[in-house]
């Protein structure tokens, strides 16, 4: 399982990466904002194809390219449009919720998140088996 974690705050990013590693997901690529993520998803270097990711976990509020922008771009791309997407957010308006739901996300992770809440959402999204 190859994950892409997108957040403009390094602290949040590394927390997420640690939590994911604790849940058994070690192959995690970090992106510092939406455009970095888009670059990692799309750009070809010297004929080398970009990596494909099994799940994108992206923050909502980021400068320049927000999580919603990234989601729109991913869903609009022929090769990427099926990629599962989890949105990480603290505040939200009705409009952004509906917009991201319409574009198709697997789950919302609400900040501040914990290992338990992330695990619960990964279960919800079908990446983890329920253990209870």
């Amino acid at each position: 399982m190859k994950f892409l974690v997108v957040d403009d705050k390094a602290s949040v990013r590394s927390t997420m990466v640690d939590i994911l590693a604790g849940l058994g997901f070690n192959d995690v690529t970090e992106a510092v904002d939406g455009s970095d993520a888009w670059f990692k998803l799309k750009a070809e270097f010297e004929g080398v194809k970009p990596e494909t990711f099994d799940l994108i976990i992206s923050d909502m509020e980021m400068p320049a390219m927000t999580g919603l922008d990234l989601l729109k771009a991913v869903r609009g791309d022929r090769n990427l449009k099926e990629t599962p997407f989890i949105m990480v957010t603290s505040i939200n308006t009705k409009e952004t919720i509906i917009a991201s739901m319409k574009l198709g996300i697997k789950a919302y992770i609400i900040k501040p998140f914990t290992k338990e809440s992330v695990a619960a959402k990964l279960v919800q999204a079908g990446f983890l088996k329920k253990t209870d």
Binding site: N92, T93, I97, I98, I105, Q124, G126
Partner: protein, 879 residues
Amino acid sequence: MGNSQNLTPGFAREFIADIRDDLEVLEPDLLAMEALGSNVGCDLVNNAFRAVHSIKGGAGFAGLTHLGDLANSMENVLTALREKKLSLVFPVPDVLLAGLDRMKTLVAALDSDTQPSHEREKLALEALISSPDGTVYHGRCGPFLADRLGRMLDPGVLKKAVSQGKLIYAVEFDPQQDFLEKNRRVRELLTDIESIGELVFADFDPTLAPGTLGPGQGPLTAVVATILDPDFLAQVLEVESSRIIPLDPDAMEFPEPSPQVPPGSEHPEASGAGMAMSPLPNGLPQEVPATTIRVNVELISRLMNLAGELVLTRNQFRSLVERIAVQDAGVNQVMQSLNTVTSLIQEDIMRLRMQPFGNLVSRFRRIVRDLSNSLGKRVDLLVEGGEVELDKRVLEGLANPFTHLVRNFVDHGIETPDSRKRAGKPTNGTILIRVGQQGGQVHISIQDDGRGIDPDTIGAVAVDKGLVTRESVFSMTDKEKINLVFKPGVSTAETITDLSGRGVGMDVVKTNIENLKGRIEIESTPGRGTRVQITIPLTLAIVSALIVGTGGLRFAIPHMQMQEVFHLKPGELQTCVERVGGFDVLGFRGGLLPVVRLRTLLGIETLFFDSITREERRERRFSISGPRRGQDRRKQAGGGIFVIVLKQGINRFGLLVEEMFDTEEIVVTPLGPGLSTCVCFSGSTFNGDSGVIMILDAPGMADQARLGFGAVAREEKRRRGGKLGEEKQGLCPVNLMLFSFAPDDYFVVPLASLARLDVIRPTDIHTVGQQRFMDHKGTTTTLFFLDEIIPVAPCEPSGGPVGVIFPRGLGVSAGIVVGMVMDTVAFCESMNTDPVSPDGIRGTAFIGNRRVRFLDMEHISKRMETLVETAGSMIGEEE
């Protein structure tokens, strides 16, 4: 004793009695209020208010704090209603009634050591009038919402949503606050819901126009499946997050009865107390401790037995009285009242042990729910006649077999929603349990509208398992085949599931039912459904039975096993009874009824009165049918015969007895171990007149007599215009013509396959070239010798008359010379088919001592047609 112990018991008791009265008054008031809804008048609310207020006061005096607490909450709700701050719409009446039920439970619990909780009802009442501004209340469901929704939601849909990672929420909307004030339309809400998940359920019409929402309207409830967390959902739906109630589908449907119910309560009603909002008909508590007492079941059983003895003694006494009544007519009157009183006592004591069938039903509901959920099926369980009462022992004995049956119906009977849809059935399967009482018997039928049982599959399985022979299955009716599921080891399930399908069970079900002296039968139409019919006695100890006699001995036949009785006049018997497939049968209601003589069955020697020699002689003839030539002396014997039509599973047969006496209530004594091999008897009883009499058992007698139900049923079918093709099965009698072509070479041909039979002299046969002809009524008919058509030994002309047969349905005018016609015989065994038999021969059999060959008329007819055609063309060529 709850909180009342700090008062003198007498003092508290007075208050409690008052409280009971008030509770009695309150219930009809609340129900009337519910019926009137928003139009409720002030008087009614005031009445209810006064009753609750007085309960509150009484509870205070008696020290019943819980009750007072609950009454207080109820009072507050009634106040809100009185002040028109709350409308009397759902869920208000339900919550009020639930409060009332809980108050009753609290009062009932005073007699026991338990103290039920009232928190849930209190919270529910408070939720009704929880509102921030306090001017208008919106009557929210609060803690009752999940209960209520559980009964309305489709568990399949919820399960699917959960498997997709979605969460389930119930959302309560207030029409005033959420729609009218915001000028928001219901349709807009639905669009919002659909953009973030799906609407699983709504208790309002989604196309509702905003104008129809008024301040008087109760809350609207929607159930939404979405991946969102509650806060986000609240944001999208524009409601306070307190209105969003997460539902746990695993925990919510058909909530368990409230655990606060007094444990081990013997009152069947008490278990319903926690399910006040249940739509089940028998869910309403009827707590009346003042009029019921608990009695040890042992004591009741003892009373039952004594009542049985009393009936017995009464019967003995009655036969004594009949003898002396001639001298003193007054005895009769006394006897009569003793009769009545005994019957009443017996009836009432039996009723002590009676419990409604509905008590079993809750168990089935749970099974149906759990099982259908796990199988992804949708099943409605309907029960009619749950109020019919059965003996506790019978009811307990029914629990296991019924559980098994219900499981089987859900597991094997009802199809998945998809295949039901494809079959054009409603997606929800229905299991209908019908209970009815008739006489001393309870009839229970359980049926589904599922896929049914294929009789041939069952037959094949039974043969595979070596339970029946292929031949016997062949001669079975569909109904008999389906009833093979009651044989051990037979299952229809293509796959074995955790719960059923191992072929263990239906035989156990049957044994269980038979232990209750009941009968079980099953019928099924493939594709349409299956029905199991169970008949059991209301009680086991006393049965009503008909006393019959033969050869000077008396026997009892339980009414339960009887269908009807009719009488044949002397001499009528011999003419009515005929033999079919080796069995005696009687034409009966348009069908055939196998009959057996009781004395033959039991090997009882009988005397008959010889009208010629005027002496009693031993009856030597045991066959019933077939009148003798001339006058039958036996027809003077006795006064005719009674035919008692008995039921054995799906079959009926007639038991012939010479004497019939009275109907009596008999007390059944089971057979001792030494007599257990006597299959004809199910027990014995003591009769006032004739001492011990045996109780006959219909299924046992049918087994003992080896009645040929299959053969009789086929004959019946044939007579009703059934197919001639059935003669192939050989078991129903076929009339055959027997002839010998060459000496000692015998043939038979079914009479039914012949159009005509002529017997002619050999000189009538004219030969022209190689063709033979005969004249018949002025026309010339081609004749063939049998050896010209099929490979058989040639005929040696003897000069005597010869037979000519004309096959039925022959396309040309031609006959077959068949040699010497010997006889016509009725043949009811099966013929042997030999794979190497030549064309034109269907098989062989022994009739009398002769080996005969069956002609295949179909083949012969074809061959004759070919021969006539080629002969015609040859003649044409010669010309």
